[in-house]
Amino acid sequence: MIIHQHTKIAAILKHNPASLEAIVSISPQFEKLRNPVLRKLLAGRATLAMASKIGGCSMEDFYTRLAPLGFTKGAETTAAETKELQELPALIKSLSDEQLVVLDVRPVIAAGEDPLSLILQKIKTLQSGQVLKIVNTFEPTPLMLLLKKQGFGAYAVQLDDQLVETWFYRLADTVVTNQRVQTGSWDEMLARYKDNLQTIDVRGLEMPLPMHTILAALDDLPEGKALFVYHKRIPVFLLPELALRHLDYRVKEVANDEVHLLILRN
């Protein structure tokens, strides 16, 4: 079998079960693979490149240990993935205490369980602007890739050989910081129109009355004022109407069933 940095550990184990011992012998970090539950979960997600980061070893270690078992080294493809997370993102530097959610998964892993569902649960509750810090014994590269697909950036720091801290943050939040300069965020816009707000509440209205009420209020909106709307959800069908009227908007999701909407003239 030809292997390279993108080969999954699971594929190697499947091809030759004896490779388990060879891999475990590379780094004590891989002892986890002996546990059938963790093996099933981790091996399917981790590639050789990820494993070498987790185990603190080089790709060559894998190639030399696995060669006697009939694995040959394939062509290296570009190794761009690991490069991108070098600089501590500005967002993390400027964190306040309430913005940081910490989750230590070491006890979960020590108990032989998969922390993935716990992490995903935690990340779901993450509010806009908040950052999740995961404390672990290795760099969770598979998790970083998984969450990247869900719109999270990640940054990991190895504090010592048994302690790694990884931060996960919504990429949209970093957009907010870039955006602020261009068009003004919710907070800025709200501050700008602080004394020039007209407020309506459409939460108690049945569809499609919220839309009618908002459009009627916009027709009567004096020049220089903004409309502040209490709504139950983001009114997606209103958005094209706003675009037609050359109006701009900002949305803030306060809770699951409460959305604040700020409509302003361009």
Binding site: P208, F237, K252
Partner: protein, 419 residues
């Protein structure tokens, strides 16, 4: 809140779009068969791809999304939504294949079982959502009743399949075909499209128009007409009595036309987009099958049923108004679902595109043109027995299906963009 996750809705849309493509491919490859009898494997396969794969699947998808909006509550169960997708998706594909190769043995029987299971699950989900919300809403009642008729249709369809191999029913399956078809067309499609349309059309026109009395009359006319039809059918009384359900259904359609016209007149949005134009055209096109039906009844009274008329009748329903309203309404619903998925997390930042910008208006425009010319060509070809016209018509409808899928996939693959 009150929004069904896109994961439970989008698969239905994708399935429907691909089914439409398959149906138009079959239509094109079998265009020649539209000069013969309608009761033959390939036409049954096309009809069921359209009725179930295209029409029903998109309505089930949109239904899961709409129910929470209508009842101002949550969908009873997302899990049931996934299960109904799984059952119907596998069942419909199996059924179409069984019709195509005309094997009414196990493939068709298992297909019927799966489809019925999927429909039951959907019915229960709608029913429980309404029961739990305790809020009466006329459109939700339309949807629930329509789902009940759908179940009736698929049970009847299942019996017809079994009747091919076992003699379950007193007559052959061909005899019951019009019963099965009309419960589906009138009870499921017409009732549901009118119910949902009565909410969506004024909403997209931004019309402050409501008329529950008119809608309840339509509801009574359609259901009453259908029950009378079933009674006449099973008791084989004079064919002339079929005029009663026909008048009921025709009046319901006219009343719905009036309802839409009223909404149109008081609309706030003066300029209509292409999607709304096509949806309103669909309402006008509802009259076409009625004309063929009247023609059919006249020929039925004098001689026997004219197969050309039956083919044209079926075609103007499934490839006519039903397809027109789906083509229009897809791009009035799916872009918003996708927008919500991609942008709701950063809607506070500004610089997000409008949901309308997530698909190509130009592609939609060409799709609509292909549809209209293709429809006229094919329907005209059936009536005039002109093979050239049906072939060109089928090719244009195929082009329409391709363009539809191009736009749907453009939507699905949309990635966050900054303006």
């Amino acid at each position: 809140m009150y929004t069904t996750t896109h994961r439970a809705v989008v698969p239905f849309y994708v399935y429907a779009g691909l089914a439409f493509l398959v149906a138009t491919v079959l239509l094109f490859s079998g265009a020649g068969e539209f000069s013969g009898h309608y009761f033959q494997p390939h036409i049954l396969a096309i009809t069921h791809t359209m009725a179930l794969g295209w029409g029903t699947m998109i309505i089930l998808g949109a239904g899961h999304q709409l129910i929470p909006v209508l009842i101002e509550g949550e969908l009873y169960s997302i899990k049931l939504a996934y299960i109904s997708y799984l059952f119907t998706a596998v069942g419909i594909a199996l059924l179409v294949w069984a019709f195509y190769i005309f094997d009414m043995g196990w493939p068709a029987i298992y297909a019927a079982l799966l489809i019925n299971a999927g429909v039951i699950v959907f019915f229960v989900n709608v029913l429980m959502s309404i029961v739990k919300s305790k809020r009466e809403n006329i459109q939700a009642v339309f949807m629930l009743t329509a789902a009940g008729w759908l179940l009736f249709t698929t049970i009847a369809g299942g019996l017809l399949i079994c009747n091919f191999t076992e003699n379950l029913l007193p007559e052959g399956s061909l005899h019951y075909l019009s019963l099965h078809a009309h419960i589906g067309i009138v009870g499921w499609f017409l009732l549901l499209v009118i119910g949902v349309g009565s909410r969506l059309i004024p909403m997209f026109l931004i019309a402050k128009y409501e008329h529950p009395g008119l809608l309840w009359s339509i509801y009574g006319l359609i259901n009453g007409g259908l029950i009378v039809f079933i009674f006449i059918f099973l008791n084989t009384v004079w064919p002339v009595l079929y005029g009663i359900p026909l008048i009921c259904i025709a009046s319901a359609i006219v009343l719905f036309g009036i309802y839409c016209r009223q909404a149109y007149r008081v609309r706030i949005r003066r300029q209509l987009d292409d999607e709304m134009k096509l949806s309103l055209l669909a309402v006008v096109m509802m009259v076409l099958p009625l004309l063929f039906l009247i023609g059919l009844i006249i020929t039925l009274l004098s001689l026997s049923a004219d197969v050309k008329m039956v083919l044209a009748y079926g075609f103007t329903i499934f490839f006519g108004w039903l397809t027109a309203i789906i083509l229009g309404m897809t791009f009035k619903t799916l872009p918003f679902i996708i927008w919500n998925k991609v942008y709701h997390a950063r809607a506070g930042t500004g610089g997000t595109p409008s949901p309308k910008e997530l698909f190509s208006g130009k592609v939609f425009h060409f799709m609509a043109i292909c549809f209209i010319i293709g429809f006229i060509g094919f329907a005209g070809g059936i009536v005039a027995t002109n093979g050239m016209a049906t072939r060109i018509g089928a090719l244009l409808l195929l082009g329409c299906a391709v363009l539809y899928n191009v736009n749907v996939f453009k939507l699905l693959l949309h990635k966050d963009v900054m303006l």
